[in-house]
Symmetry: C2
């Protein structure tokens, strides 16, 4: 990996320095025998440093420090460096409040301001209409697999599932406890590499909703447009965990959108649910109070103690995405990164292979295999030596997988592609 001039600067907190400062943070210098005599009148200070001093401008937000690895994990996943820096600077004493966000009462004015801004920024990012509630919950998408039918169905209601990967299949199975789900199409016979033509789908007329997983994290299959529900309610429900906020989405096409935060928008432990308000309030009687959308909507996600620090982190990410120009700009960057990587695979003369049909390849999760599968372990190992980690494919499918979420810098993908070409040259 190329040496970055920003490496030392990024390794240490720079947040107390003025913006654009050319100063190196003090604690970047290993200290030798420096001692001071306490004084309340000293105006000058001389410091002896044992190291060389390379002074650089502050790096741009998207830069990548040599001290950091390129983390291709599928989730929890890479977060924007500037967001982490900000969180670090505020961790001990949040903006003069005298406490960490982790210590704040969830009903105090500081945290209320944090959660309200997070919601407001997310609404701006996705242009969420007023008739939708935004909930910050716990338990991951897996909890929603139960909450969705519990809130939208009776146990006798049919619902339709279009299953394009493992996560959609898990949602389908959990829904069997609380509704009568029908598998109207499954990509399993073709190892989850396709999305069907929507016209040919046989939807159930009295289904309460049609469920999809917008992006399958394990199989790398992503909906590029969405089926129109041909059921009585017209409701489309989508698990968007692994492509949430990676591109613009017309929220008004959905009844419910839900997403675990730990791919694109924050740490694990926060689940975002965007739900049309008229769908709230009909939970089955045996719904646990914590899975009842009505409870959370009426209490603005503060019925019980929410995952405060996680919500704060999501808020910082939303702010960062807005500062990048919003989701249209973010999508452009994601398309460019994905294009470079898929091209490298497709132009390798079969040395690397991506099993997913081209038209539905994910912008977020890129699974690939080696023609010589015996080299895959070596590939992952060598990449790790070059500080590209978590490239091993999911244990259920094998091969490799590069997750290139919003926060993965272009340099990460370029470094990976350069490594792939080098690896091929050495092993072809």
């Amino acid at each position: 990996m190329a040496t970055s001039p920003h490496s030392l600067l990024l390794q240490n907190p720079t947040h107390h320095l003025p913006n654009n400062s050319t100063l190196k943070p003090f604690n970047a210098f290993p200290l030798t025998s420096t001692r001071f005599t306490p004084s309340t009148t000293d105006k000058r200070l001389s410091i002896t440093c044992a190291t060389t001093t390379q002074i650089q401008d502050r790096p741009p937000a998207q830069a990548h420090s040599e001290d950091r690895v390129f983390n291709f994990a599928a989730g929890p996943a890479i977060l924007p460096e500037n967001v982490l820096k900000k969180a670090q600077s505020e961790l001990y004493n949040y903006r003069g409040s005298g406490m960490s966000v982790m210590e704040m009462s969830h009903r105090g004015k500081e945290f209320l301001s944090i959660i309200q801004k997070a919601e407001s920024d997310l609404r701006a990012l996705l242009e969420i209409p007023d008739e939708y509630a935004v909930l910050f919950l716990q338990g991951g998408a897996t909890t929603q697999f139960a909450a969705i039918p519990l809130n939208l169905c009776t146990p006798d209601d049919p619902v339709d599932f279009l299953v394009t990967g493992s996560w959609g299949d898990k949602a389908f199975k959990e829904a069997q406890k609380y509704s009568q789900p029908k598998l109207i199409w499954s990509g399993k016979p073709e190892k989850y590499t396709k999305i069907p033509s929507f016209e040919d789908l046989e939807q159930t007329p009295d289904a309460k909703y049609l469920h999809i997983c917008a992006n399958e994290t394990i199989h790398g299959v992503e909906f590029k447009n969405y089926p129109t529900p041909k059921n009585a309610t017209g409701l489309l429900v989508a698990d968007m965990s692994s492509n949430f906020c990676s591109k613009p989405v017309d929220v008004s096409k959905f009844g419910v959108i839900y997403a675990g935060a730990q791919k694109n928008v924050g740490p694990s432990g926060v689940t975002v649910v965007i739900i049309r308000k008229d769908l709230i309030g009909n939970a089955q009687k045996t719904t646990p109070v914590m899975l009842d959308y009505k409870i959370h909507a009426e209490n603005n996600s503060l019925y019980n103690t929410p995952p405060c620090f996680g919500i704060y982190m999501c808020g910082l990410v939303f702010e960062d995405l807005l500062e990048q120009g919003g989701l249209k700009e973010v999508e452009k960057k994601n398309k460019k990164k994905a294009e470079i990587l898929y091209n490298a695979i497709d132009e390798s003369n079969g040395f690397f292979r991506c099993p997913v049909e081209k038209s539905v390849r994910s912008l977020m999760n890129v699974p690939f295999t080696l023609e010589k599968s015996e080299l895959e372990a070596e590939f992952v190992k060598e990449a790790a030596k070059e500080k590209m980690v978590q490239l091993k494919g999911h244990r259920s499918v094998g091969g490799m997988r590069a997750s290139i979420y919003n926060a993965m810098p272009l340099a990460g993908v370029e470094t990976l592609v350069a490594f792939m070409k080098d690896f091929q040259a050495r092993h072809a």
Copy 2:
């Protein structure tokens, strides 16, 4: 509040400085017109500072910085300063891994090491027997209000509830969805200020368990010993959210202990469940997969993505509690703090009043009122000016409440007591 000599040092990250360094962190000095010419050979560096320089030794772990407030919130609540400092220092690059804990795959070796050490340290702290599983879950105690009956009962099974405050009452109500709970005693007629004599309790012989809330956060009522279940299973189940790890507990007396982390052991978003292993595996068929203890036990809390950063924070707190000498030492400190505060109330000649019966007063949550209730708002306001915050009582009961969890330093309680005496002198 007395001026602390540690104030400036604590305000800024000091983690890169050698231990016991007498150096002030560089970024504590407001910078003026300081500029450097880049050089790779400079060995010396001169810095102009615009402020006075007061140099102090690093404070001990339990010290309290003037920049921080004394946070008496009931939860999320104060965390140990040294734990926050450590988390801050590791937030951007965890121990050379090149990533934040928030970015780590929950199946990678770094996080596995974190969660395994957290469990192992908690087992050491509470001397948890091998026949108990330790689970790190999401959703707070409120989710467990449903999970407990769903895992331990059929819908027709009777269970006994001894309700000593609002949280026990909420658990009782949620259990009605999944079992036949019986309220064998309620403190409500006496405004939740008492715990009954255990001999007089009429327990249900075929009850599946007896449920208590070991410490009622809102009402400040704490069990000092525990009732013996006189039911067929002999099972006692306890919500220990607000006194978890505040004192030693004989885990073997319980079937299940559960606790939200956000009082004594970490940030919100993590729930610890300690359950005897033979009780696992009988969940009702409609139990959401995320509420099924079997799923979590079989997968070592990694069935789906756990709240990784929260678990890491809990681990740091467990480590800190062990370093303090374990829960016996922690209990001593908590008893001393509580004694000082309750004495101040009791010796105020009725100016301050605690409604809770003396023998069951909580070591953690100290509710009190003013004889002249019209002064309560003023008390809270003046205290906040003195950097003692979140002293307002729960909205359901009014008055004041000082939560003095493990991480509240003795100095916090002493400062509060001094303020109370001063306030009384001015308003008696």
